[in-house]
Structures are given as structure tokens and as C-alpha cells.
């Protein structure tokens, strides 16, 4: 569709609609309206103003919808590239107040620890079928655990995933996931593991989902966290579970600050973790000066990333990174790739037209997990 082509909303507007016409026009439509590369956001209701709020870095995040004269229908047209997935809310201005709401006309929602957002699915985007429960995939089990950490001086909770065909006589790779409960709740990770194992795309593996009560501190290059994982948790797991005891079979994984925790832990224990899966890692750094533009929360992250960038070494074997092009962190993640690559580690970066959110991280799991741990698919010819 070209810029000059009329969109459905323009045709409606040109017809100088009344309420009945708007009713008829809306009946049976899906919202937002996706017409090729252009998307029309629509709100209908009593308001003094409506604003689109989204999390696309680099795009005006405070765009006003306009009202069609003599109606209560508001709209905004944006150009959205194919394959995009954008989380958004509508801000409704009324009586001097404003309220952020999910789009009442859009059934697609994404949940996260802060609530939910509406989801725009651009042309060509589909929720991957491997993220949905497959009745043919035998489910693994999740077992809760509590671990008293001396390094952290307290109890840490989480879940251990055992694959459906778990046997004590077999040895399994181990993956440790930061923000584990969020990955389970918002990125469907148990379902994804069940499905990918069932499809032979990844091997049977044991996955430990860990949580932190203070992630912004513990995940920001905290020596105690690294010690907890490497000197306490892994040895304990090694005693209790049939794990392959080699670097290639140990993976750290995380998103955002969880990505920082994964990379910095591997940096503190070089060669121990042979696989890293880093999603939208908050790898803030400064090229010149010490002030970072992201604020004091990032000070210790910057300290670590600057140190790593100054002397990059092969701390792992294979590193998979993913990042959304609609998040500001794409800059940091892209710039990390040649650096990691130059050390001799095998590196893969996958970019997506998406933002800093759990469903972006969910959608990249298949490629990441199967690249780090190819399953027996290449071996099985029934």
C-alpha cells in the first residue's frame, strides 16, 4: 500500500459520518486496523483528548489521536514495518485528569509484572505456535525449591524443571534462568521447553528458574550473586541431579538486568559456563567519561561493561543475544557482538521488531535455545 492510498479511516472521515455510520463502519472490524505497513489506532468514547503511549524507542511516544468531527471516534495512523509487535496503551484525557488504559477494541494483551499492555500485531506477525500448549507434547514437571545462600545471606527461591522423560540414569545439560518466575509467567517458558523438547529441537535438559528479591542490586554485577550461583547452587544441583559436568552443558540465561547477571557471572568464573543466552541485556557502558546516561541504577553495570570492553576475553563458548530494534538497548547489544566475536567465542545476535518486553523474549526462545543446544533433530531419522 502506498502513502497516497486511502485507508479505511479516511473513507469514513470523508463520508462525514454520524453515529449510525460509525456503528456500521466499526461492526466486524479488527482493531487496530492493519493495512499493509500502516496501522490505524482507534478509540471511541467520551474524552477531551486521547494519546497513544507505546514503548518504541525513537518514535514519538506521545502521539495524539484526532477526533472525527461530530463523532466520538478518535484515530491515529502510524507507519509500522512488517513483522512488528508493539505494546501500547491509550491515555484518555478527561476533566483535567488522564488515565492510561488498555485498548478496549483490541483483544490482544501481553501481561508483565506491572499489569498488561495492548498488543499491536503488525502485518506478518503471528504468535509462534510453539509457544502454545501442544497436546502431543508430554509436559515436564516444575518443582519449587528454596536454597539458603551463605554468599547472599538469605534464602533464594525458584523452580526446577525436569523434562517429561527424566531418568536418573541419564545425564542432562543445566540451564539457569534469571527472573525465572517471570519467564514462566510471562514468556510461557515451561510450555516452550515442553514443545521444543517434544519436537527434538532441543535436548532434554534440566532448567533452574531462579528469582531474586532485589534484582536491580543482585543482577547488576554483584560478586555475591555470582558466587551464589557458581559456588553454592551449581555444586548443590550437581549433587542432587544427574547433570553433565562440563562447561558446554552449563548455560546462564536472562533478560535485561538478568542478561547483565548472566554475563557478569560468566566473567567472574571464566570457562565455567559454556553457553550464555542474553536477551535485551542492559549492557550500558561509556566510551568517554564516567557519567552514564541511564542513571545511578546502572553505575555498577557500566563499571562491569566498561571493564569487559577494555579487556574482552573468551569467558564462554557460545553466546546468543537477542534484542528488539524498538528498544534503546539495541545500540549496546549490537556493539557487544564484534567484541564478543573477536575473543573467539561463537556469537549470534537476533534482532526483532519488538520492544523491551516478555513476549519479545518469548518469541526468540526457540532460536536461542536450539542454537545453544541443538536437539537430536539432526540425529533422528525414524
Amino acid at each position: 500500500m502506498t502513502q497516497s492510498q486511502h485507508l479505511a479511516i479516511h473513507e469514513l472521515e470523508a463520508s462525514q459520518p454520524d453515529r449510525a455510520k460509525v456503528d456500521a463502519w466499526m461492526a466486524g472490524r479488527r482493531f487496530p486496523i492493519v493495512e499493509g505497513g500502516r496501522v490505524t489506532f482507534v478509540f471511541r468514547g467520551d474524552a477531551e483528548g486521547v494519546t497513544l503511549r507505546h514503548w518504541v524507542y525513537g518514535l514519538e511516544s506521545n502521539s495524539a489521536l484526532q477526533r472525527i468531527q461530530n463523532t466520538d471516534l478518535w484515530y491515529l495512523v502510524l507507519e509500522v514495518p512488517p513483522g512488528s509487535r508493539v505494546e501500547y496503551k491509550l491515555e484518555i484525557h478527561k476533566h483535567g485528569h488522564s488515565q492510561w488504559i488498555e485498548d478496549p477494541l483490541n483483544p490482544h494483551r501481553a501481561r508483565d509484572p506491572f499489569g498488561a499492555n495492548s498488543v499491536l500485531q503488525g502485518v506478518g506477525y503471528e504468535v509462534p505456535e510453539w509457544t502454545r500448549p501442544d497436546p502431543l507434547a508430554r509436559p515436564g514437571v516444575l518443582e519449587p525449591f528454596a536454597f539458603h545462600s551463605k554468599a547472599l545471606g538469605g534464602v533464594r527461591h525458584g523452580h526446577v524443571y525436569l523434562p517429561a522423560r527424566f531418568r536418573r540414569t541419564r545425564l542432562y545439560p543445566l540451564m539457569i534462568v534469571h527472573d525465572g518466575s517471570d519467564y514462566l509467567n510471562y514468556a510461557s517458558m515451561k510450555t516452550v521447553l515442553d514443545n521444543l523438547i517434544h519436537r527434538l529441537e532441543i535436548p532434554d535438559m534440566i532448567v533452574v528458574f531462579t528469582d531474586s528479591p532485589d534484582r536491580l542490586r543482585e543482577y547488576a554485577n554483584d560478586e555475591r550473586h555470582a558466587k551464589f550461583l557458581t559456588e553454592e547452587l551449581v555444586p548443590d544441583l550437581q549433587k542432587r541431579l544427574p547433570l553433565q559436568d562440563r562447561p558446554q552443558s552449563r548455560c546462564l540465561m536472562g533478560a535485561s538486568f538478568g542478561g547483565v547477571a548472566s554475563l557478569s557471572t560468566a566473567w567472574r568464573y571464566p570457562g565455567f559456563y559454556g553457553r550464555l543466552l542474553l536477551q535485551s541485556g542492559s549492557f550500558a557502558f561509556t566510551d568517554i567519561g564516567r557519567r552514564n546516561r541511564r542513571g545511578p541504577l546502572f553505575d555498577r553495570v557500566v563499571e562491569f561493561v566498561n571493564a569487559f570492553r577494555a579487556e574482552p576475553t573468551a569467558i564462554s563458548e557460545r553466546v546468543f543475544l537477542s534484542c528488539g530494534v524498538y528498544e534503546s538497548l539495541i545500540y549496546e547489544n549490537r556493539s557487544l557482538v564484534p567484541l564478543l566475536d573477536g575473543t573467539g567465542m561463537q556469537v549470534k545476535l537476533v534482532e526483532a521488531r519488538d520492544g523491551h518486553n516478555w513476549e519479545n523474549w518469548r518469541d526468540r526462545l526457540r532460536e536461542g535455545l536450539s542454537w545453544l543446544y541443538p536437539g537430536p533433530l539432526m540425529m533422528i531419522y525414524e
Partner: protein
């Protein structure tokens, strides 16, 4: 002890899961009598062979190589540890081979996209393929070295734990007219076939092998998938096969594993493994090997170095591909 006779005929087949043709192939060979089966590629599910037993007229005897191997490893922990160590070495070798292979394949892909005088391009492409072929051969050589070192150090056939089972297997085979080798996990299957020296125990029986079974009895096992989830697939050699039928690379499940419309990928496979012929074997495919020659093809596709594929005809002699 007399020298074992080679198989009287070998039939390679496509997948048997949904529309089995094994029974028809056995009938065509006039096989009248018990048939030994190997389902070790099914691993722990080795014993779940009732469908196969039914399909072959309830005259099968499963050699249970997977279970036997488990018994041996339990009874002979020293051998088990050494075997594990050998497998670990092979895994390392495969990892390093894969690292180098990915770079060689990337180089080949880049060269193919370049614009240059045709004669230079042809030379460089041939050199790129040559480098991949050399790497494949090197890796096969490394696998052979690991295996022969293990054999020399441990002489597995002379150990009581294995000798007893080999004797039992030979006894079973003596009363059979054929050996049917099912698919499954090709590395496990090959490993068990080698552990018991099954190739040396065949004495004139016909061999029917499908999917991973067909791969395991060829000269070399080629792992392949053009669209795996982790990105563009790179075919890789796993190891030498038993070499019961020479000169072909069986490629089962082409319907789901090969992009046969992609001329570049087809040509690369064909050139890489020439002079062996790459044979795509969809479900229902069948081809017979007797006295060093292939015949009676049915639904088998031959991949050619020009990137095309064509059905193998009964009159085709399946001459070797010219190396590039």
C-alpha cells in the same frame, strides 16, 4: 570357522512409519523364514516393535542390541567407562569439525555470490567445495582413529561381556533369512551395530534397512536438515557407516528435511559427496543393491551436481558423480 558371506541383497527403504513397504520388499526378495530385527535406534523404546512384528508376519526376532549394550555396561564397568570416554572424544571431535565446517560453508556461500570472470569463479568454487570435502574426509579419519585406538586398547570382541552376546546374536542370525534394521537415532544405532560387530556376523542373509538404518549401513553417515530451528542447516558427516552398500548417501525424509527446490543446496550436497550418489528417499522409496550394483528403484530421487534432482530409473546404472 568359515568366512561369512556378504548379504545376498540389500534393500534400502524410505520411512516406514505410516505406510510401510517393508513386507512387500521382503516378499519381492522371496524371503521365507524368520527375520532378525534391529531397533536399537529407538533407544529405550527398542522393545516397542509389535507393529513391525505384525507387519512382517509375526516372524521377527529382535536382537535387542540396545538392551544388550546396557547389560554389558552394567556388567563391565571398566569397558563402560572407556566407551564413555571414547564417545566424549567423538563429541569433541564433532564440535570442532562443526566449527570449521560452518566457516568453510560460509566461504563457499560468499564465493558463490561473487561476480568474477566465469573461469575464475569456477576454479574458486571448486576449491571451496574441495576444502569442505577435505574437511569431511579429515573428520571421518579422526573418527576412525578414535575407534581404532579404542579397539586396539580394549579389544571389545575378546571381552567376555561382549563375546557372549556376539555368540548369541550369531546363533539367532544363523536361523534367519534376513536382517531388518529400523531407523531412529542414527548415532545410537551405529554405535550399537559397531559395538557388537553386526556387519561381521551377517552370513548371506538379506538386509532390509530404512531411514537411519539405511544411513548406518552406507559408507558414511551424513546428518542433514535444511531448515532446523537454529537457522540454515549445515549438513555434516557423523562417522563412517558399516559400508555394506557402497557409493550412495541415503537421505531419508526429504519431504521434511531437504529443500529440493533450492538448486544451490542440492548441488552442494551432490558435489560434496561425489563420487557417491546422493539419493533422496521419501516414504515409499526403495532400491536394491546386489553384487555391487543398484537396481529396482522405486520413488528414489537422485541429486545431481547441477542442482537438479530426478527419479532414478530402472535402467539407470547409477554411475558415480564426477568429482568437482
Amino acid at each position: 570357522m568359515s568366512t561369512p558371506r556378504p548379504p545376498r541383497a540389500i534393500v534400502l527403504l524410505g520411512a516406514q512409519r505410516f505406510d510401510p513397504t517393508l513386507g512387500a520388499a521382503a516378499a519381492e526378495l522371496g524371503l521365507d523364514g524368520p527375520i532378525a530385527t534391529i531397533t536399537a535406534g529407538w533407544q529405550e523404546r527398542e522393545g516397542e516393535d509389535s507393529d513391525l512384528h505384525e507387519h512382517l508376519g509375526k516372524r521377527t526376532i529382535n536382537l535387542r542390541l540396545h538392551r544388550r549394550a546396557d547389560e554389558i555396561f552394567r556388567a563391565d564397568p571398566e569397558l563402560h567407562a572407556a566407551h564413555r570416554k571414547k564417545q566424549e572424544r567423538l563429541r569433541h571431535k564433532q564440535d570442532f569439525y562443526r566449527i570449521r565446517l560452518e566457516h568453510e560453508l560460509d566461504a563457499n556461500h560468499v564465493i558463490r555470490q561473487r561476480k568474477a570472470p566465469p573461469e575464475i569463479l569456477a576454479e574458486e568454487e571448486a576449491a571451496a567445495i574441495g576444502a569442505i570435502r577435505l574437511l569431511d574426509e579429515y573428520h571421518l579419519g579422526q573418527c576412525a582413529k578414535v575407534e581404532s585406538e579404542f579397539d586396539a586398547a580394549w579389544r571389545p570382541f575378546e571381552r567376555d561381556s561382549i563375546a557372549r552376546h556376539r555368540h548369541e546374536i550369531a546363533e539367532i542370525l544363523r536361523d534367519t533369512v534376513a536382517l531388518a534394521i529400523a531407523g531412529g537415532h542414527v548415532a545410537t544405532l551405529l554405535n550399537r551395530l559397531r559395538l557388537f560387530g553386526v556387519a561381521e556376523l551377517i552370513d548371506g542373509q538379506a538386509v532390509l534397512a530404512w531411514s537411519a538404518g539405511a544411513m548406518a549401513i552406507s559408507d558414511r553417515v551424513v546428518l542433514f536438515h535444511d531448515s532446523p530451528p537454529q537457522g540454515p542447516g549445515a549438513s555434516e558427516v557423523l562417522d563412517r557407516g558399516l559400508g555394506l552398500c557402497s557409493g550412495v548417501v541415503p537421505l531419508p525424509h526429504p519431504e521434511t528435511r531437504l529443500r529440493l527446490d533450492d538448486a544451490e543446496r542440492v548441488a552442494l550436497l551432490a558435489r560434496r559427496f561425489a563420487p557417491a550418489r546422493c539419493l533422496a528417499m521419501p516414504a515409499g522409496a526403495r532400491i536394491t543393491y546386489r553384487e555391487g550394483r543398484f537396481g529396482s528403484p522405486h520413488r528414489v530421487l537422485r541429486l545431481s551436481i547441477d542442482g537438479t534432482r530426478s527419479p532414478v530409473q530402472p535402467t539407470d546404472d547409477l554411475l558415480p558423480e564426477a568429482s568437482s
